[in-house]
Symmetry: C2
Subunit: 299 residues, 2 copies
């Protein structure tokens, strides 16, 4: 069961975020077909976990969720969507379905999908520079986002993932791959939230620690769902990892030990919140987000 | 004939830029195969026109060509290289040769080429945030670069180019396509140079005007060379445009009128420098760069 506080929070802010995304895209000056392809994938739904984490951290530290916060969150969702579009390409993971609808290249063609991804990635950075935040904050966010999304993070993770299909990774290598491919961008969400909320270093370290473990839990959970779920429920092809000899937690540890690893990551994330709670921060929402990885929900 | 001042300037600074690029790439933390693919394309040579324009503008306004200037110039070359890698992909222009060597996807495979491009694009922005420039300047450069490279500029230009293969554009449409696809990044080089040199608005407007006409001349010249040159000389396939029914100046206006249009753009660029010269700026180098488009050189 997803925590009720999270459900309420999502009910209030996810539509705001969606509208903010939609309006931003509508106001872009772009080649119309390209913009259509970009908008298609951005507005195809999804849980918006990364931007919602930014909002949740702001809320927890009583930072008003204003236009600037929604800008930073929206920018992250554009960047995340680019990564999905490129990952789905025939030369990459070759997926036909995403979020229950045709993937970008299936709908618009491969050239357009490459360009839609390029456009979203570039626009994510442009959007950050258009916020009302001060230059120092903008520069910091651009640097952190590029670091997380680029060759130190996500892009290298995807490269390792593709090359890893031909070889068996050990657990340490798999963990690193996950940290880069999925963890880096979730960590950025936490850093961005912390920066927007203007919290002090000690608290930021706790939030980053929460983010690192959240990211790991997220990927183990995703691996498990790929094994256990159905296409209808996931909105994308499942059992793919196994078919493609992908390195995953279940393939390395088996189902049961993967659940244990997930529980470990969730516990460590929860632990990171303790010092914050003791300092008077209301961590119930961030604690609640960990119910995304609840076992009962999916089995 | 290329102007002697330009030849001397290139002789001095192009090796510095190349070394700066090489060292930056070497120091990146990245998946090794990915980094190899990125480095392959960045270090494959080329005239480095865009970054050299930044340096030339700094030189003209007596702004010292220091580490920060080389950083901004290097970042632009990374971004330009990304655009070449993605443009060469089979689903795009499907080129096998670039700068006299195999294109990235021919050498490293298509998935790696997509990721190498993604990595370079993202790293271009990260590099800007790592310079010693102040946050305001960094934020301004990130915004302008993203604007030039993204859906307002280059990416939309490439989209129009691909879609345009199926239709006949008129001169106005072709000019817009060129402005987006090639002109926007050359204009950014001029803006970046002007910002680094800290020149006043009036002078910046003149430099931007120079950049716009330089960009147009560049594209007309490139179109003409595709018609007139040989593969050996160009280091890439020629007569491609015609074969693929690309919209070009020669296909629209014929060879002779295309040379006239080129001369017009070069003259307008030269004219933009006049007010600067009158104000005591030594424009001989920027004037000299226009000899890139000299007719004798190539016929």
């Amino acid at each position: 069961m997803i925590d009720q506080k999270v459900v309420q929070f999502e009910k209030k802010y996810r539509p705001q975020l969606e509208q903010h995304l939609s309006e931003y895209l509508q106001n872009l000056t772009a080649q119309p077909y390209l913009l259509k392809a970009m908008t298609y994938s951005v507005m195809a739904g999804g849980k918006r976990i990364r931007p919602m984490m930014i909002l949740a951290i702001c809320q927890s530290f009583e930072r008003k969720i204003d236009q600037a916060v929604l800008d930073v969150a929206g920018s992250l969702e554009l960047l995340h969507t680019y990564s999905l579009i490129h990952d789905d390409l025939p030369e990459m993971d070759n997926d036909d379905l995403r979020r229950g609808v045709l993937t970008n290249h299936k709908k618009f063609g491969q050239a357009t999908a490459v360009l839609a991804g390029d456009g979203l990635l570039t626009t994510a950075f442009e959007w950050l520079t258009q916020t009302s935040l001060n230059s120092k904050t903008i520069s910091e966010l651009v640097g952190l986002l590029a670091h997380a999304a680029g060759v130190s993070g996500m892009v290298s993770g995807q490269m390792s993932d593709i090359l890893g299909e031909q070889q068996r990774l050990n657990l340490r290598q798999l963990k690193k791959l996950h940290q880069q491919k999925t963890g880096a961008l979730i960590l950025y969400a936490c850093q961005a939230g912390a920066i927007l909320a203007g919290i002090k270093l000690e608290q930021r370290i706790a939030i980053e620690n929460y983010g690192r473990n959240f990211g790991l839990a997220f990927q183990i959970y995703d691996d498990l769902m790929d094994e256990l779920s159905t296409t209808a429920k996931m909105g994308k092809k499942v059992h793919k990892d196994q078919n493609e000899h992908k390195n995953t937690y279940p393939s390395l540890l088996g189902i049961s030990q993967s659940w244990d690893a997930l529980t470990g990551a969730v516990d460590r994330a929860a632990n990171s919140l303790k010092t914050l709670s003791q300092a008077g921060v209301d961590c119930s929402l961030l604690q609640g987000l960990l119910t995304y990885f609840s076992r009962k929900e999916e089995q």
